[in-house]
Amino acid sequence: MSDTKTVDARGLACPQPVVLAKQAIETNEKIKVLVDNETALENVKRLGTKLGCEVKVDIGKDGSYEIKLKRKADWAGTKDDIIPSCNAETPLSGPFVIAISANTMGRGSDELGTVLIRAFLHTVAEQTQKPDVMIFYNTGVMLTVQGSEVLDDLKQLERAGVQLLVCGTCLNYFEIKEKLVVGIVSNMYDIADTMSRAGRLLVP
């Protein structure tokens, strides 16, 4: 049994605790990381989980945390893309929401905007960090009905667990409710509530 290496990351700002923990676990089978805030705790725990380590946390009396990471048998080394981006990955208090307010992206040329929204949704469907909820309103609802160019992307997002809320008033206004292909018909209560609770709200 090798010794446990101790990393004292108290008083250090993100991403230092994770960087130091990552360096330590690269050369030691077991490490103990001391941190003094919840963000660092969550980030180091996430690092451990992502790397396939056993993760144990002890809470100290002085409000600090002791995180023990131990490599599992199938340890495969560390990856480079694992350091958190400190602004984006601090724990969010609510869901990550994308509101699609039109069937175009940006203002100016609709022809261009139509292409941009397709490229945007394709990219969102491919990226690892997917939203929790997507909301479609005004002409945005046209993306969810028959004939839309982005149905495959939206279906892929739905399969990945993304909730798609489609404004019922809007479907009604454009008289396309019976053509809905993806998502669930929603109302302003749910839409306003979801947007209000959002930890991050993105409107492309």
Binding site: E111, L112, V115, R118, A119, H122, T123, E149, D152
Partner: protein, 77 residues
């Protein structure tokens, strides 16, 4: 998970060429998708047309003498 399907992309000199090509492909009923140009090909905010390699000849024939194609590449998975 199914293995990732293989795709090719067709690159054009300008966005307007992509739009023109897309109109033709739609009219001809040739399956394709507009996607952002993958970052490892170009870091510009460009768009391109993605398709299954089997469609390449048909797509090229449809666009011949109508839209100038800059390049066709197979996508890395």
């Amino acid at each position: 998970m199914n293995p990732k399907p293989q795709y090719s992309v067709m690159l054009f000199k300008a966005v307007s060429y992509v739009l023109k090509a897309e109109k033709i492909l739609k009219k001809e009923g040739l399956p394709h998708k507009i996607i952002p140009v993958p970052k490892y090909i170009s870091s510009d905010c460009g768009i391109c047309i993605r398709f299954e390699p089997a469609m390449q000849d048909k797509i090229e024939a449809a666009l011949a003498n109508k839209v100038e194609i800059e390049e066709t590449r197979t996508l890395d998975n």
